[in-house]
Amino acid sequence: MSKYQISRRRVLRGVLGGAAVAIGLPRLDGMLNGNGNAYAAGEALPKRFGVWAWANGVRLDRWVPKTTGAGYQLSESLVPLEPVKDYVSVVSGLNLPFGGRVHAAGNCVFMTGQRLTGNSDSALTYARESIDQEVAKVIGATTAIRSLEVGVTDAPSSEQGTAFRFWSHTGPSSPNRPVYSTRDVFTRLFGNVMTATPQPGPTAVDFASEQRKSVLDAVLADAAELNSVLGARDKARLEQHLEGIRAIEMRISSTPPGGGGSGGPLSCGMPPAQPTLVGGATDYNAQVEQINKCMAEMLALGLACDVTRVFTFQLVNPGTEVIIKSVVDAARMASQTTSGALPVAPRSYGAHNLSHIPDGLEVDAPYLHAVVVHYMKELSVFVQALRALPEGDGNLLDNCGIIAANDVSDGPTHDLKNFPSLVIGRAGGKLKSGIHAAYPGGNVLRVPLTVARAVGHEMTSFGSENSIATESLAELLA
């Protein structure tokens, strides 16, 4: 243990490109107790909650591991997770209730426990806030950013309702849009660049953030005036709006400007340069993999530095039609027979179409399997990025409760039974990991319920109508 007692609120100040930057420090040895699992003042290390999302289902026959319990044997789809296997639990055999408009229903019901709402495809949205937001209200109340939504590719499905594109919502028709630009994620997490023209010296930043706060105070006062004349339903809508503004104020307030205070040049290991990769591609090319890695590393840093504790990470959008040619062509090459015959090329390389179409050798979407393996490769990169950051006695992943999920079970039929979900991390010791928990049926909403409770949200249930989950998955609890 270090002989220095360092205040947890210490921030690093620096100058980046002429604009002052303030960044929270990760937990340092000096802040922790002797066991490395709590702060010197006695508080436990914070837990993080997140959802990592892919789309268009899996080939269930290749997804579900054949053995169960601890030390399960990875299935074909999950092989890329080998390096982090002991942090990944697989839950199988549970079903997603309700159904509804395909693809959107998957993420909606999983994240809200309720059916889709909206009276046409272009209006389909969530009926309430998603579980990440519910959890953020409890564990993200004091961080600079309440929750961060990150996206890697942005190929739309053919529908336009918010449920078809976004996993996280603060309410009906109020999605939390992912940030697809690595530069913007960087700025949001680590930069407090205030004005369009950066000015030298910390004093300019003082004025800018003070100005921002004064502006937001005026906005809140104005809104309060409006609130007094509204009917109940409009009041609720406005309250949602105000919550968002208060979250911004919190963000500005928790990174105080100005200098002062000693402290060594300890840092969160800030990325050496501001990344410039532009995400949001509709074509899954090699650059997408770089973006995935960059986003994963920045998010890991953001979690370690306690800038945020809640996230959703959309590798692809629900029902996405992202073009995924290189992976599929590689799979075709790998299937080349000894006589040199190649499987027929799919008529479309869009990821959603690939989840439905056959080729000349097999009947049900073999390319879907190759795509799923690739997604799991990207998930592996993500999980490794979190595991790489030391925290306390262990690493960041030890204090995370993360769910990896997508929008259907069986890709070709859109079925929702045996809904694939992975639980990753140990939630500060509350979760066991590296287990395959297999069930003979039941409600998959128990997965988000279990993980939300493990990170500290004491929800009594999750779900609605006659599909309300109340019991955590005992097999996953430590």
């Binding site: 509804g100 369009a196 100005q211 104005d222 409006l226 406005l238 709006h241 968002g244 509709t282 039609e321």
Partner: protein, 445 residues
């Protein structure tokens, strides 16, 4: 909210960075260095009024003056302007349309002149009310239904109304980004998708503003506005010149009317399959205002793949819809409509066969037989439901809400206006605007 805040700050930055733009907000010249109350007040008066679509209240003026003064004293007057612009653009009173009304002697609440100015401007010109319109409101020129109607007539005559009402039709067709971005082109070459979008919107514009023809004519019209590339794509005679121009569809051509062109055929789909049930759903919901319910949850709606050795047309593959007791309740009234359009593929091209098999276009609309899409369109145009639906759809767009029982009764005169004018949308709009539906507040929820 973060996006709003970032956008508001960015706009404020851009305004402050350009003297010419700043002059539109700060009304005094030169811009003072320190706080100048007179200048701030007059600037707030004009800018704030345009932003909030009405004059600021005294407490709002005090609030923003306070902000301006506070920032000016620490920095400069211009910085104060930056802060005030950012604050006003984030106010819920700017972001949301507040329509509260005021009580009248009759007991019903009537929208204020400024609220009516905003309703007129957003409905007809799809933009915020300009100073001239707000002036008229302030002078009390929008205080009677007749005066409002007269103003609307004048606004409809402006070119801004053409651009404004195009937005209605784009929403009706759920065009979204179709034709605007390559990603939303459904696999079409982007300029072709753009031409299809423009075709639909300019056909609508021409019908409403130039021809004054009934809305249902859109379904059956034998003229359409295309460019040379699009005409060739459709198999229509070429228009003269290089741009968009009107062409006549020959009587023996399979195409006529909105339902046989790209904005309907391609936009609704995914560019891969024709999706006849989706097409039929549009007809039922948007043309006839008949609700179509979702399939039961346990039903697997994915069509099994076609076995190449035994080809079947889409119609054949959907047979089960019409024979299975669980399906035919809904599908008997959907599939015959959508399947008629099978002679247009997923990208809107004409075809006569599918996998070498002939395509059957005949079907029935609630028992009325038709031979081909053109005949179906004729039948649809004659249905009384199509006429009242044209009114309903416009009403929902204009009011932003689905009509309740009370509204339906009050829509009767608007429906009558449709009948009397033989379906001219202009007259329908004016009838609606001149009615209490537009000018009085319905009960709050």
């Amino acid at each position: 909210m973060e996006m709003y805040e970032a956008a508001a700050r960015e706009i404020a930055n851009q305004v402050v960075a350009e003297p010419a733009r700043l002059a539109r907000v700060v009304s005094c010249n030169p811009v003072p260095a320190g706080f100048d109350e007179a200048c701030a007040r007059s600037s707030l008066g004009s800018f704030g009024r345009l932003a909030l679509r009405r004059a600021l209240t005294p407490s709002e003026v005090d609030r923003y003056l306070g902000l301006w003064r506070g920032v000016s004293e620490k920095q400069t007057f211009t910085e104060g302007a930056r802060a005030v612009i950012s604050a006003i653009l984030q106010s819920p009173k700017f972001l949301y349309r507040v329509e509260y009304g005021a009580s009248t002697t009759t007991g019903a609440r009537r929208y204020t002149g400024q609220e009516i100015a905003a309703r007129l401007s957003y409905l007809l010109w799809n933009t915020t009310p300009d100073a001239a319109l707000l002036d008229a409101a302030d002078k009390g020129e929008l205080s009677t239904d007749e005066a409002v109607r007269a103003r609307a007539t004048a606004m409809l005559a402006s070119p801004r109304a053409r651009a404004g009402l195009r937005d209605y039709f784009a929403e009706y067709l759920n065009l979204q980004d179709f034709g605007l971005t390559p990603e939303a082109a459904r696999g079409l070459e982007p300029t072709l998708a753009a031409a299809m979008r423009e075709q639909a919107l300019s056909d609508f514009e021409s019908l409403v503003f130039d021809q004054g023809a009934p809305f249902t004519d859109l379904l059956t019209s034998t003229t359409t506005r295309v460019n040379a590339t699009l005409a060739e794509y459709y198999g229509l005679p070429a228009p003269g010149g290089s741009g968009l121009a009107s062409v006549n569809v020959p009587a023996d051509n399979a195409r006529a009317g909105l339902l046989t062109f790209g904005a309907f055929l391609v936009n609704l789909g995914n560019g891969q399959t024709t999706q006849p049930v989706r097409r039929a759903k549009f007809i039922r919901e948007m043309v006839l205002c008949q609700p179509v319910i979702q399939p039961p949850e346990e039903v697997n709606t994915t069509l099994p793949m076609v076995d190449p050795t035994t080809p079947r047309t889409t119609r054949q593959r959907l047979e089960q819809h019409l024979t299975d007791g669980a399906c035919k309740g809904c599908h008997a009234s959907l599939d015959p409509l959508g399947l008629s359009f099978e002679i247009f593929d997923a990208l809107g091209r004409t075809r006569t066969t599918e996998l070498g098999l002939p395509i059957i276009t005949a079907g029935n609309l609630d028992g009325q037989p038709f031979e081909a899409p053109r005949d179906l369109a004729e039948l649809l145009a004659e249905r009384p439901e199509a006429k009242s639906c044209a009114v309903t759809r416009l009403y929902r767009y204009a009011s932003g809400a689905v009509e309740d029982v009370d509204d339906s009764a009050r829509l009767a005169p608007v429906n009558a206006a449709y009948a009397d004018s033989n379906g001219k949308l202009r007259d329908v709009l004016l009838s609606y605007i001149g009615s209490s539906l537009f000018t009085t507040v319905s009960d709050p929820q």
